[in-house]
Subunit: 348 residues, 2 copies
């Protein structure tokens, strides 16, 4: 088949990072939608809210009080899914019931003292401080030798299970490498062993030649819609320099990451003139586990919206049981994101 067929005929695309496939049905975006309509994200919030457990000076669960922080602020999640003191061990019965205990820690990162902001609305200098705090947290968590993997992520918007609109993200660190990272490690290491080059560096070089899926870029990072994107407006930020994790970024790279984060999330907000929901997170090499010469830092954005601020893509029946499926092509999504302005629509 030809590249042009990919824009109109049903096909599957191969995800280089996971070795899994996505079903693409280009014509299906003509489907009418009579199903669930989500509430659009509220755009006006006060800068401080007395009943927000993330605002400076307020009480959290169990009576802890937040400091009156003025810069990004991190603390241990009061309802953490991973806990440091968990006893070690493995469970097995007849080779059929298999479980491993899991040590770890969950951190919460308030991006700003201001309740009313989100990443795209923050000053560049303030986002740089978030990047710096991510790095410091990563260094601290990796200093614990029982930790093998550290997941930095953000759930943005009620529709993505975020229970508080105060701008914040999370970091979960744990003693084993979780499933998605096992896949990405396997694929990147196999490519590296065969080609002695980074899989994502080669992929990025090809996308730079083609240009059609690139959304925006700067000296150190490129944001693009991956060829195998699953979510309608899924994107990926890839560092031009191959590094295993955030600890290796220079000050110039940190500033460039802050900048591309602001630019990409501004385009997202402008797309449907809403506070664009997503789950986003960095993928980085396992820690305290030797060298992973194939690993290449990148960050995924998985946004649920399909056609407007209120109609999302449901990854349900077929998708849960068989394979992810998408209705608009990655190239259509990229074309829309490419023409967005980088001035936030609320700024005018």
């Amino acid at each position: 088949i030809m590249a042009a067929d990919l824009l109109q005929n049903v096909h599957t695309r191969y995800n280089l990072l996971t070795a899994e496939w996505v079903l693409v049905s280009p014509h299906r975006n003509k489907r009418p939608w009579q199903g669930k309509v989500e509430a659009a994200a509220g755009l006006q919030r006060p800068a401080y809210m007395a009943d927000c457990y993330l605002c400076p000076g307020n009480h959290r669960a169990e009576g802890v009080e937040n400091p009156v922080y003025t810069e990004p602020y991190a603390f241990t999640n009061d309802f953490a899914a991973l806990i440091p003191g968990t006893p070690e061990g493995r469970f097995e019965e007849d080779g059929l019931l298999i479980a491993h205990s899991q040590q770890g820690q969950c951190r919460v990162i308030c991006f700003s003292p201001r309740h009313d902001l989100t990443l795209p609305q923050m000053e560049l200098a303030a986002i740089e401080k978030v990047v710096q705090l991510w790095k410091e947290e990563y260094v601290n968590l990796a200093a614990n030798p029982s930790i093998r993997y550290i997941q930095i992520f953000e759930n943005k918007g009620e529709i993505m299970g975020c229970s508080n609109p105060h701008p914040h993200g999370q970091i979960w660190a744990q003693s084993e490498v979780p499933t998605e990272l096992v896949k990405e490690t396997r694929q990147q290491q196999a490519y590296y062993e065969k080609n002695h080059r980074s899989l994502l560096a080669d992929y990025l070089a090809l996308e730079e030649k083609k240009k059609e899926r690139i959304v925006c870029e700067n000296e150190h990072f490129v944001a693009l819609v991956p060829f195998w994107a699953v979510w309608p407006y899924e994107t990926m930020i890839i560092s031009r320099r191959q590094v295993a994790d955030i600890r290796e970024f220079t000050p110039a790279e940190q500033a460039a990451l802050a900048s591309i984060l602001k630019r990409l999330t501004t385009r997202y907000d402008n797309l449907f003139q809403t506070s664009f929901p997503y789950s986003a997170g960095m993928h980085q090499a396992p820690v305290n586990d030797g060298a992973y010469p194939g690993w290449h830092w990148h960050m995924h954005f998985y946004p649920p919206l399909l056609r407007s601020a209120t109609v999302k893509k449901f990854m349900v029946g077929y998708e849960m049981l068989a394979s992810p499926q998408r209705d608009i092509t990655p190239e259509m999504a990229a074309a829309q994101l490419q023409v967005m302005r980088e001035v936030h629509f609320l700024e005018k």
Copy 2:
């Protein structure tokens, strides 16, 4: 670690069918929820609705008219994600952009002419006719030699992306085996080659000994919460006899499947006194592709609700990027489903 630790300490469990892991955080069900509250499913609907495109005699998209059907009724999806005439072919560029064309067909199955019913509310004899129609559709779709896999499924409830409450399911048939089925085929075949027995038969025998995760059973089927369940109230129906797909079921087995479907979905509705949403579907062997002696028919139920009719589990940031995570143990969920009555709460 001991079995008792699995009820209180953070751990990961291994999914025998996919070789993937789920993170279990038993203590986390104490977490308060201030996030998104879903609308509860509407319970009262008229038996016929003039503007429902699935009701008998009504117009569908593109002007097609439904017959005045009185039994389960199947037709080709008007907005199908898979289309029969798609030209065959493979696309590859530098080993980095890889795509395959995909032939296939999407069918819709109206379970009942009555707009106001759902599976648990239907008469047993009417559900038996649905099972019979599933089988006939499967036979027809498998008669096309280009088809390799047939996914029978149901999205129930608005929250699961179902765009019409008229009771219906779907069947997607396609020319390649999709990702989740590649995993399950690999795991079942590997076990079979090593042990010369069905993986799920051995697993079922162990669960029958333990009893703690079994929800209900009859002569031919068992419904249980799998040890590695991801969704809070996820269950699986396993056939006692190892068959590769629905075509092999005897009339007695078909009747028993209808019966356990009614009993399991009634328990679900009774749990939160709501029309319990889920995505459910059968997993069966690939077709037109030789013998798969390890394959064992089963059906998954993936329901999103966590604590009530209006609070669901969000599989977002950490889950999308790293690994599924659950807050109540499979054993807690099974214990709740075990004590449910099998008379529907609306019947009194």
